[in-house]
Symmetry: C2
Subunit: 348 residues, 2 copies
């Protein structure tokens, strides 16, 4: 595809500033074109009632537009006052992007994000809430699946069954944090780490027991490692399995593979996990509630959750809600494109 | 326990009409003292923020109060204008009780019920909505687990993952409708029927396939039957497994047992099931979302769900919401006794 880039820029800018969607679809912007942004684009394409208005990126928008046929813009396009967006999805990372972008954009847009640094959620919520209220906007933070759908199930389990224990297991899935730690070990050229729930513990809980679980009883860790050339594999394995915090406390398995195998078999980003509540409503009456995700693609699923919450954010904003919200504050019906009548008739 | 019944009646009536709960607990009334009502009582006892104000029954309230130490009243006590209830739980059945009681009591109380005749939900919703609006009250209908929590998961799966299929499996659990049908067969003295999900179908869906399932591929049926004395067991078995609608279309197993075994091993009311969404977010990228209940006591769990929705109903009423709602309309955070700050800090 060969395009006149100057003409394309003009065309995109015209579209961006003036086109209204005549079908009243909800106009979505995406900030950040990483894995999550790509997942959100696919999710928007699967909906009847949302339309992708623009993807905002630090990279070269003209090149990306040419390569993909999608409407890319620079970040400065979000500074134009007449930007026609109903909801802006913040698809950056929680470590450095969202702490800045969350409050910044919540002041000017209805936003949805997947902020996932659990310990900093109260602080982040307060900052986004203040910004959104100052700008008369609404923001839904920490959507996705954990935090997000898993949080909903921790809440549901406890609210309905007060006398019990809640367990969260992650995996089988690719852990970014543990893969990063693995790759920082000297002698590791490349590699990935999968987190695996301890099936024996899970089965015991499903059967009604409520064990106190240490780290090794919750998760196992499986590493696929491309070693540096000439590395002492026994020493490297030992360095990996004894890495404090990340691997030392777990049953950790290390597989040495070559770069081609890594590229061929470990490029996908599967994930998932289980939230399970085991509780009692009277003597010896056990009640077990389990929510389980098995995801071939973590970013595509997370993107799909963000997109459903974008629909809810737009509706809540139109009803006059303002400030920061979380999935705890969003009635489930608002996530669906269908009308309340239809939902009651077909799904209740 | 020997009580002066006249004094007790006076005492209860005084309590009923005048006592305010000084801790600001939400005051709950329960209409109907069957299995569900009993489950709701246990659930209220397990909460920090709700208090049982009265149980309203067609049976003799004085006898029940004496037997249990709980505050029973006749139905006429609900006609007294100064009844101090924040929420009335309607714990009757969907066939005959709720179609009358739902609209009747929604006119005068904030109500929560578990209306579960799926096909009649739109009609019931409209009637309760009209009554609640006429009386300036709020009602949450069709809580429990199906409809209720299972409905929420049918909605979540479809809203987040539009390209896929949703399957609901029930069991292993005691089915009242099928047990009733079983007991109406001539030659059956007593018996129960358990609905069992077809594990092979469930495993196929978990693995990412999306089959079209006939009844037999969804559920199996297991009957425990006490036959009439002298019954022809082969003929009776044949009459059971060929009963149209209830058993003929399924793999149905019949076990003949004696009355003592029935009483000893089949008095509990376990139930549960699975809602599973199998979907695709891009080519060959499967995403599977599963919600599963394994309940030792169906009525105790259902009662616990009603009680959590009673908390939400009270809060929504205090915020000015009116009319009929369903679980689709209730933000999850409203179900928890904890504050939004705490929920964000501890569960998000």
């Amino acid at each position: 595809m060969v395009l006149d880039l100057a003409a394309m820029r003009d065309s995109l800018n015209r579209r961006h500033s003036s086109v209204k969607d005549m079908t009243n679809r909800i106009r979505i912007g995406i900030l950040g074109y990483g894995n999550l942004g790509r997942g959100a684009i696919r999710a928007i394409e699967a909906t009847p009632d949302l339309t992708l208005q623009g993807i905002y990126t630090r990279r070269n928008p003209l090149t990306l537009s040419e390569e993909t046929g999608l409407p890319f813009f620079g970040l400065d396009a979000l500074d134009v006052t007449q930007v026609e967006l109903d909801v802006l999805l913040l698809c950056g990372g929680s470590a450095t992007d969202l702490p800045v972008q969350g409050p910044e954009y919540a002041r000017r847009f209805v936003t949805v994000d997947s902020f996932d640094t659990h310990a900093k959620i109260p602080e982040y919520f307060a900052q986004v809430d203040e910004a959104a209220r100052a700008g008369d906007r609404l923001a839904i933070i920490s959507t996705g699946w954990d935090p997000g759908l898993f949080s909903l199930h921790r809440l549901l389990g406890e609210a309905i069954l007060p006398k019990g224990e809640t367990y969260t297991f992650w995996g089988r899935g690719l852990s970014q944090g543990h893969s990063d730690a693995l790759r920082r070990i000297p002698g590791v050229k490349a590699g990935v780490q999968y987190t695996i729930p301890n099936e024996a513990s899970l089965e015991a809980i499903r059967a009604g027991s409520r064990p106190n679980l240490g780290p090794a009883e919750r998760h196992q860790r499986e590493c696929f490692v491309v070693p540096d050339e000439g590395a002492d594999l026994d020493a490297l394995r030992e360095a990996i399995v004894t890495l404090p915090h990340y691997f030392a406390d777990y049953d950790t398995t290390v597989h040495f593979i070559d770069a081609e195998t890594l590229a061929r078999e470990h490029a996908a980003m599967p994930h998932g996990g289980v939230v399970i509540r085991s509780a009692t409503t009277s003597d010896a009456t056990n009640q077990v509630v389990e929510f389980r995700l098995a995801l071939d693609s973590n970013p595509e699923f997370t993107g799909a959750v963000l997109v459903a919450y974008a629909r809810a954010a737009h509706r809540l904003y139109q009803r006059g809600e303002r400030g920061a919200l979380t999935p705890f504050d969003v009635a489930p019906g608002l996530l669906s494109p269908r009308s309340p009548d239809e939902l009651r008739r077909d799904l209740l």
